[in-house]
């Protein structure tokens, strides 16, 4: 099959999880004999062939006043490129990823008369609400994408219900396919961490990975820190990710001083080393349709202490592959982190279980096969 992926981000450009998702899915599809083509943003028009995947980048206007207008403009540029590409070789369908791809993907669907599949990675309502005109327009775009798509894919089981409810979709149109983990990437990586950059020799790293925004819950973890440090002075919190870093750093430093470190943006390889070395990762999100961090940590045999919400209800099995906390509850976060810190053997055991579970349930080969199955439905 020859699907046309429409995504605003694709590695090496990436801001969130969509880029990695698209790359892993497309690469696996190519391995399985399909011909995925990626249409994405770039500073200039360029084409690249990587791991069996054809990647086309198109620029968008620098004059847009906000992300929404920018996405509209990008969509139009993408559509022109798709028309050009389709003249050389037809596509079977267009596969959009999240709301920013909706203008482009629906335009392509209409002009080229193609079926459309839409993967919803998160919703505006869940991210930060639909209170302003701007937010409502994004919500409308999400609705429009689900309306126009022949098939909708969601990355979380519970999230599927949210998507059906938010956009009033018939249940047969919505398919749950989890995210996956590229285990090779983790297995080929030899951990080579200069731990001194992050923690003292005797300290144990408790790792947060994610954008520093309320949705990811860094504030709740910071509130839990003083109690944890009181009882477990060996703990050292390492908070990786971009966003409102300075804001959270100030608060955290005022609470626990040197026991927390904010390295800012950490390159992928360094992050893998950190994940492998950490005692645990912590995912205190208040809203998380899927949440890739517990799976990536699992690939590193590191357990995750994560909120009992959204996708983490599935990606963490309490007391088997990690620990669940009540969402937005610093007391619960402190309690579970301390349980894991106080029993390192148990933590290691949970890390091993997490790895085995990822190997059995979250492989891209499986996810790619499910996705092409959905394509076949869309083509009917």
């Amino acid at each position: 099959m020859r699907p046309l992926f429409v995504t605003w981000e694709y590695p090496p450009y990436k801001a969130g999880g969509i880029a990695a998702h698209c790359e892993d899915l497309a690469t696996t599809m190519a391995d399985q004999g399909h011909e995925p083509v990626i249409l994405t943003y770039g500073d200039e028009q360029e084409v690249e062939y990587r791991d069996g995947v054809e990647i086309h980048r198109v620029p968008a206007s620098n004059s847009a006043s906000n992300t929404l207008s920018w996405a509209m403009n990008l969509g139009h540029q993408m559509e022109k490129k798709a028309i050009e590409l389709a003249k050389k070789q037809d596509f079977d369908l267009v596969h959009a990823h999240d709301w920013m791809a909706v203008p482009g993907a629906t335009g392509i669907k209409k002009t080229l008369d193609l079926p459309m599949v839409f993967t919803v990675h998160s919703t505006q309502k869940g991210r930060d609400g639909i209170d302003s005109d701007y937010q409502r327009t994004i919500h409308n775009l999400e609705w429009y994408g689900t309306y126009e798509a022949e098939e909708v894919i969601t990355v979380g089981r519970e999230f599927s219900e949210e998507v059906k409810h938010n956009y009033e979709l018939p249940k047969q149109k919505v398919n749950y396919i989890p995210n996956g983990v590229n285990l090779e990437k983790f297995d080929n990586h030899s951990e080579n961490l200069n731990k001194d950059k992050y923690a003292l020799d005797w300290e144990q790293i408790v790792l947060f990975v994610g954008r520093m925004y309320p949705q990811k819950g860094p504030g709740h973890l910071i509130e839990a820190m003083p109690e944890i440090i009181d009882n477990n002075p060996e703990a050292k919190f390492v908070m990786c990710g971009s966003g409102a870093t300075e804001h959270y750093k100030q608060i955290a430093k005022s609470q626990v001083g040197e026991k927390v470190h904010f390295p800012g943006y950490v390159p992928d390889k360094e992050l893998l080393s950190l994940m492998k070395r950490a005692e645990m990762t912590v995912a205190p999100s208040v809203y998380e349709p899927f949440g890739i961090v517990p799976l990536e940590a699992a690939a590193c045999e590191t357990p995750t202490v994560g909120s009992y919400t959204g996708g983490m209800k599935d990606t963490i099995i309490h007391e088997y592959t990690g620990l669940h906390t009540y969402p937005a509850d610093p007391g619960s976060i402190a309690h579970e982190i301390e349980r894991a810190l106080n029993d390192p053997g148990w933590s290691d055991w949970m890390g091993q279980n997490a790895r085995e579970r990822v190997e059995d349930n979250f492989r891209w080969e499986q996810i790619s096969a499910w996705t092409t199955g959905i394509y076949k439905e869309a083509l009917k």
């Binding site: 004059s63 006043s65 929404l68 969509g75 139009h76 335009g107 409308n140 429009y144």
Partner: protein
Amino acid sequence: MKVLLLSKNLSDGEAVSEYVKNLAEYLVSENNEVTIVSFDDESYYSIDDRVNVNRFPLNFEGDNLYNWSMMMNNEMKGQVVEETDVEEFDIIHAHDWTTVPGAVSLSKQFETAFVLTIHSTENERGFGSEESEVISELEWQGTFEADKVIVNRDETRNSVLFDLDAPEEKLEMIDPLKDGWQQIILNNYRNLLDNKEQVKN
């Protein structure tokens, strides 16, 4: 000749709509086949029965005219592809920036000659909104992609030439207040098709 006219609205009394209606009625009286595709704002319109009219609803509310128009254009393309014999059109004639994205895509996909009437430019309208720059860029793109650009008055002609930097050779001022303006447009269509035929041969 088969002509597709794209217009944001089709409603009696509205300036661009009146221009489109008037042009369409003249074209059918000269034995051409005309289809108008426009957003259905539920307003009243009256037109010669021989003109095919396809008005469509839009299930999308945008926070500003630019965002709304971009999605309206997607719906417009769908209407044209699904509801008309799109491959048979000889001319796609768009009106103002609000139909430029649709006209650009359709003319590229179906390799149809593209005429654009710019009734006024964003510069003439005051360049007063946050979206003015992207709107003006669409106007520029329209003049870049179109085979023929028509304006109605000197002020717009000057703005298209100097603000949008459009090439003078594809620009023509055709005053719709003067008799025979529709015929001049039809002659332009014919010239375009003749040129296209010559290129093919």
